[in-house]
Amino acid sequence: MLMILEPIMRVIEVPMKFLQTALRLKNPAWLFLFPNLVLFGLFAFLPILVNVAYALTGSDGILLSDRPYVGMQNFTDLMACESYLDPNSCKDDLFWRAVWNTVWFTTLQVGLMVGFALITALILNRDIRARGFFRAVFFFPVLLSPVVVALIWKWILQREGILNAWLDGLGLETFNWLLDRDWAFGWSVFLSIWAHMGFYTLILLAGLQAIPRDVYEAAMMDRASPWRAFRRITLPLLMPTMLVVLVLATIKGVQTFEEVYAFTGGGPGSATTLIIQYVYETGFAGAPRLFGPAAAASLLLAFVLVVLTVIQLWLNRKNVDG
């Protein structure tokens, strides 16, 4: 693997050596940091500033010089609602539909997924045969690309697909799953759980395996029932890992886009349009390209994410200390 890089490294060595001697650097740390910092600066920090600039300007121009300053207009437009609970009463009804879809989606997806991941991790932590194999099985879909995941399930759920054939064979009613608002939403949640559960199972399993065995030994000495051992030992000791998993899953959940977009395209109607899709469609897919509202919406999302990330880092720190 490293052999591939050999010629590249030899090429870089020349300027690096030159710079080190020319600048008389005893400590060339900045030389090594430089490419990374340039990339971070250009593609992580600068965008945040530019994002604010976009959110505060209007028109469909892409260059900032073409965009007149409009103040908080983009935000007030997004927020112009008679009732936040009813997207129809909002000026930008698609935004609020996307917001509520995302809220519901994340709640359902995270709740169910972490629940099943916990059950799966507990089962994988038992003294079972072929644990490595089963662990791999649950992890497998994590590696699939979102488009592939979407197509696999689209093929199963299509009008004349195997699921309908099966229901038909049992004498049950068949559905056009993805043309029904509620079913499309439900299947999107399912698909997302299917694709990501293995990842959280893995983290929870690691948490379970970190619980020292002698605690259980002591519980056994005291003749504690297995259920009691689970409630009094496993659950409390797994709690920090659980919290991290919950926050991490929520951070990823609100950013869901790819698999649902490839699966339903946001439809039928806007039944499965999530917030990132709103940003994508407003800013990039539609004409005119409305960068202002898209940037304003991403800033609102960024705010939610920063809060969640701070919670996560804080939990992680407690984890490390304790």
């Binding site: 740390a29 490419p35 990374n36 696999i152 064979g169 030994e217 790819e258 940003v279 990330t309």
Partner: protein, 350 residues
């Protein structure tokens, strides 16, 4: 210890399975079915002909009707087993169908024409893979181009990312300098800015750098990852400084120290990061979707998505293409799943 294990698992000694064990294996079996069957079903379907794909209810295995060359006819004729009427029990080839009757011929006696009611015949079928679903991808669609784009982006991006991140990790783990904590803080800061929330300005910057609608526009913006820097830095911290000092005595340049000592010693961490990077890039969808606009520059993921969006979804080719996109990752998984699992668990995802 054995006692503890049996207590934990509630397997009640003497080799008998407790009801909780039945429940456990039942759950695991269900898991295997739910995780693998959809993919296997996709694989089987990708080898079916269009006619077979439209069949409802679908059959499990891809089947095709047997044909036979009959003297006096240019094309091979489809074979049928006759189940009723005057010719019951014989195997005949069908020439054409006229209303409710089929004109048939016995392959061993091609001169005689026989009329059979269409309800009295049953197609003779055998297991057959419709490999044309795959070969058409190369002939009729620009599959190789998409494949090349994906391979190019994945490999170049991985190499750049490994180099840049390893350099930064080296600086942050092996040098004491003013501002080290600031840089570390900045790196943590970028963790909080996922690509999804800076799509609009990221696109503008990429466009300004003349990288819109080019493969480089996909490669460069994602080259520095906080995850990568962290993973490598944590690993490099465990390398003793004495080795570096010894090399400096021998007047090795700092770059040589990095490349000849640090990188080889961090190979396990670099390998994990490489696998993750390959996976991320191969599966990447949202950013390429925004940057790449002309079909010629599409990656496999984009091609697959636009292909399914077309009005008449041609499932036969689409399924075959999905399989080809899935296969490289499935192979990587089979050989490297242990490393991927530990890698993902230690970095907490992306």
């Amino acid at each position: 210890m054995a006692k503890v294990m049996s207590f934990l698992t509630r397997t009640r000694g003497n080799g008998k399975l407790h009801w909780t064990d039945w429940l456990t294996y039942g759950y695991l079996l269900l898991g295997v079915l739910l995780m693998f069957l959809p993919v296997i079903w996709l694989g089987l379907s990708s080898f079916k002909t269009d006619a077979e794909l439209e069949r409802f209810p679908p059959r499990i295995l891809p089947m095709a009707q047997e044909t036979v060359e009959v003297e006096g006819y240019d094309d091979p004729l489809p074979l049928y087993q006759i189940t009723g009427g005057d010719y019951a029990g014989r195997t005949l080839a069908q020439i054409r169908r006229i209303g409710l009757n089929a004109q048939m011929v016995d392959p061993t006696n091609p001169t005689e024409r026989l009329n059979v009611n269409i309800d009295d015949r049953q197609a003779v079928e055998h297991f057959a893979l419709a490999t044309e679903n795959y070969s058409e991808l190369f002939a009729r669609f620009n599959f190789l181009k998409f494949f090349w784009n994906s391979v190019f982006i994945t490999s170049v991006a991985t190499i750049i990312m490994l180099t840049v991140n390893a350099m930064a990790a080296f600086a942050l783990s092996k040098y004491q300098f003013k501002g080290r904590m600031v840089v570390l803080g900045l790196v943590i800061g970028t963790l909080m800015i996922p690509q999804t929330v800076v799509l609009v300005p990221l696109f503008l910057i990429t466009k300004e750098l003349n990288m819109a609608d080019s493969l480089w526009g996909v490669i460069i913006p994602g080259a520095a990852t906080p995850t990568g820097v962290f993973l490598l830095r944590q690993y490099m911290l465990t390398i003793p400084d004495e080795i570096l000092d010894a090399a400096r005595m021998d007047k090795a340049s700092e770059w040589k120290i990095f490349w000849r000592i640090i990188v080889p010693l961090s190979a396990p961490a670099i390998a994990v990061l490489a696998i993750l990077a390959i996976m991320w890039r191969w599966n990447d969808f949202l950013w390429p979707l925004i940057v790449l606009t002309s079909t010629d520059n599409f990656t496999l993921q984009l091609a697959l998505n636009s292909f399914q969006g077309e009005l008449n979804t041609q499932w036969s080719n689409l399924l075959a293409m999905t399989m080809l996109v899935l296969l490289p990752i499935a192979c990587v998984f089979v050989f490297l799943q242990k490393y991927i699992a530990t890698g993902i668990a230690s970095t907490g995802g992306k």
